[in-house]
């Protein structure tokens, strides 16, 4: 369990900051990957293949990225509404969001459930357009869009517990997936209460493979919401009390999960697995892996390796 420290309440930088500019920025990381950032969007982009082709695609991605946030903001009020009320959106990313969330409309969902994946999908397009590029990815905070030329593959590692970040070289990841060009998977997304977005459920992490990153994003959000159980060890708060302008309104979101009994963990995972199977049957996901307090369950596609681990 992660203890919120009161430290952070007071740890604010009050020194004169550079005037916050409204512009997107980018930086090349030491290992050649790129970091694009604009407001709440953080992307890590990597590509292999013909150098000139990669450079050309990256330039197109950058030019597409710069106006993207403003475009989304223009329709933000619609995108924060239940998906049924958001059909009128016109922006291409907004339409991807609505498209990915529409099949899940039986339960409360707003297009925001797929925003990260939809942005990744939009920005992977320039890589698809050039056959000289072997493979590429756009990682939007864990929601990843992939490009794979024929015969190519990605090995995807999942770190189910963010609090153990940095120890991965030592302990290994919680799972490795292979995504090959023959598979119908071009999107990977992860959701959980520890992530930056709020979750109605208690899953440490739910990772979903799907045809697009937007579909994976929406599905991961919904499956993670379904991994749930009632227990006094779970602390929930109305989303509105935690964040202004949240699309979740007064819905209770998870802010802390204490140690749960094995029975509770099983019940919660069962609920999530049931939801994942439904989505699998509808053809919306290719597979999913669900983690909760050291226990892991997978649905659909078999991960090459999912490791169960005792919670520390």
């Amino acid at each position: 369990m992660q203890l919120p420290s009161s430290r952070s309440h007071t740890r604010v930088a009050s020194e004169g900051h550079p005037c916050p500019s409204g512009n997107a920025v980018r930086a090349r990381l030491a290992d050649g990957r790129w970091h694009f950032q604009h407001g709440p969007i953080d992307l890590i982009i990597g590509a292999d293949g013909d150098r000139a082709a990669v450079a050309g695609a990256l330039a197109r991605v950058w030019s597409r990225f710069q106006g993207l946030l403003a475009e989304l903001v223009g329709e933000l009020w619609l995108l924060r509404s239940p998906v049924q009320e958001a059909l009128g959106v016109t922006g291409p990313v907004a339409q991807r969001m609505v498209g990915a969330c529409w099949p899940q409309r039986e339960r409360f969902i707003t297009p925001m459930a797929a925003v990260a994946g939809a942005v990744a999908d939009e920005l992977i397009e320039p890589f698809h357009a050039d056959e000289r590029i072997a493979r590429a990815y756009v990682n939007n905070g864990g929601d990843i869009a992939l490009h794979l030329a024929a015969g190519q593959r990605f090995k995807i590692g999942v770190c189910a517990d963010l609090s153990r970040t940095g120890q991965r070289e030592v302990h290994g990841l919680d799972a490795d997936f292979q995504v090959t060009s023959q598979m119908p998977v071009r999107g990977v997304a992860t959701s959980g209460w520890r992530g930056r977005s709020f979750s109605l459920g208690i899953a440490d992490s739910v990772t979903v493979l799907a045809r697009t990153a937007a579909q994976a994003d929406a599905a991961a959000t919904m499956i993670a919401n379904s991994v749930n159980v009632e227990d006094p060890a779970i602390l929930r708060r109305p989303a509105r009390e935690l964040k202004d302008d949240t699309d979740l309104g007064d819905r209770l979101v998870t802010v802390a999960v204490g140690a749960l009994s094995a029975q509770r963990v099983r019940e919660a995972l069962d609920a999530g697995v049931a939801r994942a199977r439904e989505l699998g049957a509808l053809g919306l996901i290719h597979g999913a892996a669900l983690w909760l307090q050291g226990a892991v369950r997978s649905v659909g596609c078999r991960s090459d390796q999912t490791r169960e681990r005792c919670s520390q």
Partner: protein
């Protein structure tokens, strides 16, 4: 590919039960989302928040970038978004404890255990924010004014937060904060002390009242304000001392020097310093009370004029000349104790001082007085004991860390700033807060003070002292997976990632 492990940052999302605070919302203009943020919350990006009604960047981990050829200043903050990635990747980086967070319970490894290389040697820096129950601030206030009696209680917002300790050269020392004020008194005393300590450490101004003494406004690295008056320069010395320091340098260029001072005005040819140079008496008569030869008290009233007196015309303290001794044509300098005021005169036939252009040789000595006056400052040292449980975040055998520090195998820094380590037991250190990054200090409700601390050592030494070697990660990994703020490192502090043996 790993999901971007951005911290959920629960702590930065203070829970407010008051949902009717719309009036105090601010609009963040950091990006086109234009979040409307309530007091105490962050926007969609978790980077910017509304704190005390101002748009504020929430602290990420501070990394230092070693930059050569810049002035010795921590000049500013290069946000991650502003990187020129290539520059960052080439320059050595040091992860500071600022914003690193802390771990609980103690046995958990420190938040960052970072490997790097220094001239081919594998180094490890263990980075954390220590929670210090035992800590205080020692404050030196440069002033000649009387601040209050030794041992007097120092109050802040009416609460006892410290005491006056010894008077030192040109200054008065205060001891502020400490465990007895933090936890020993009433609840409010603890809270006020904690806030005062955090502000002092973060170089914010604090207002104090000394019982039976002065009212103070102090801020680390700034001139103290005593009873509403800001101290300027520290005087080079009293008028008599000034004569003593510069007599030889004046010799030959002038026949008389009067250093005007509210405390002790000095007269060169009467002063022992002039006698030793065999300077003939000038016959000048100074108003006020004569003390010992060449020293006069109360030449005028205290004020904001020459040398802390109320005069603006130096001739007003000259009573005349002894006609038996005075020689027309004598060259006379009148100057204040800081060199800020100076006039040059020549004695005419009627033994009247007439203004004359100041010769270059004389002017240069006047300027030297000014050069030798240091600005009056408030200096703030953080004194803290890290001998307790935070050591467990470094090694599973805490006493070995203490021993390794004593053996100079481990370099201890606070926010990258060098520390003075006290001899004796424990890890008790002192550090100048102005050498630490801004806003290095935080608090926890215990109440206790939170401050960054880093332990840097060779990898082999870290292994030997039972360190959490399996938790070591690279600087590059920190850079990519954490929200960071990169700060330029100047020459002010030595680069921390240098084995002690190489210093």
């Amino acid at each position: 590919m790993i999901p971007d492990p951005t911290e959920p940052d629960l702590g930065a999302v203070p829970v407010s039960s008051d949902s009717s605070s719309d009036a105090r919302k601010i609009v963040c203009n950091a990006c086109p989302v234009l979040c409307q943020i309530s007091e105490g919350r962050t926007g969609a990006c978790d980077r910017w928040g509304n704190f005390n009604g101002g748009l504020t960047r929430v602290d990420p981990v501070v990394l230092f970038k070693k930059v050569t050829g810049t002035a010795g200043e921590i000049t500013g903050f290069a946000h991650k978004e502003d990187w020129d990635g290539s520059v960052v990747s080439e320059a050595p980086l040091f992860v500071s404890g600022v914003g690193s967070g802390t771990t609980y319970p103690d046995y958990k490894p420190a938040p960052f255990i970072v490997s790097s290389r220094h001239e081919g040697v594998d180094m490890v820096t263990v980075v954390t924010e220590g929670i210090f129950s035992y800590c205080s601030f020692k404050v030196k206030i440069d002033t000649d004014r009387w601040l209050g009696p030794e041992q007097a209680t120092v109050r802040c917002q009416g609460e006892a937060v410290g005491h006056v300790t010894t008077a030192e050269y040109g200054s008065q020392m205060l001891s502020l904060g400490g465990v007895h004020h933090l936890t020993g008194g009433a609840k409010r005393e603890g809270r006020v002390s904690c806030a005062l300590m955090m502000d002092l450490g973060n170089r914010k101004p604090v207002e104090l009242q000394i019982e039976g003494g002065s009212r103070l406004l102090i801020e680390a690295g700034k001139p103290p304000v005593v009873n509403g008056v800001e101290e300027q320069r520290m005087r080079v010395g009293c008028g008599s001392a000034t004569i003593g320091i510069f007599a030889q340098q004046w010799y030959g260029s002038v026949d008389e020097v009067v250093v005007v001072d509210d405390h002790i005005t000095g007269v060169l040819t009467e002063h022992q310093a002039g006698r030793c140079l065999a300077m003939p008496a000038s016959g000048i008569k100074i108003k006020g009370k004569r003390s010992t030869p060449g020293r006069y008290f109360q030449v005028a009233r205290p004020g904001t004029g020459w040398g802390g007196t109320d005069i603006s015309d130096p001739l007003s303290i000259v009573a005349g000349f002894d006609p038996q001794v005075a020689r027309p044509g004598s060259r006379i300098l009148m100057v204040s104790t800081t060199g800020e005021d100076a006039e040059f005169f020549v004695l005419d036939e009627n033994l009247k001082m007439t203004p004359a252009p100041m010769p270059k040789a004389v002017r240069s000595v006047v300027q030297r007085i000014g050069e030798n006056c240091e600005p009056a400052l408030t200096s703030v040292l953080f004194l803290a004991g890290a001998g307790g449980s935070l050591r467990a975040g470094v090694t599973d055998n805490p006493v070995r860390l203490t021993h390794s520090i004593k053996d100079l195998l481990v370099n201890v820094t606070c926010g990258g700033a060098p520390v003075y380590l006290w001899p004796g037991g424990g890890i008790t250190l002192m550090v100048d807060v102005t050498r630490m990054p801004e806003n290095s200090f935080g608090w926890v409700p215990t109440p206790a003070i939170v401050a960054p601390i880093e332990f840097t050592m060779r990898l082999k030494d870290y292994r030997a002292l039972g360190g959490h070697v399996d938790r070591v990660r690279t600087v590059e990994d920190v850079l990519q997976s954490e929200r960071v703020r990169v700060v330029s490192w100047g020459a002010l502090n030595p680069w921390p990632v240098v084995p002690h043996a190489d210093r």
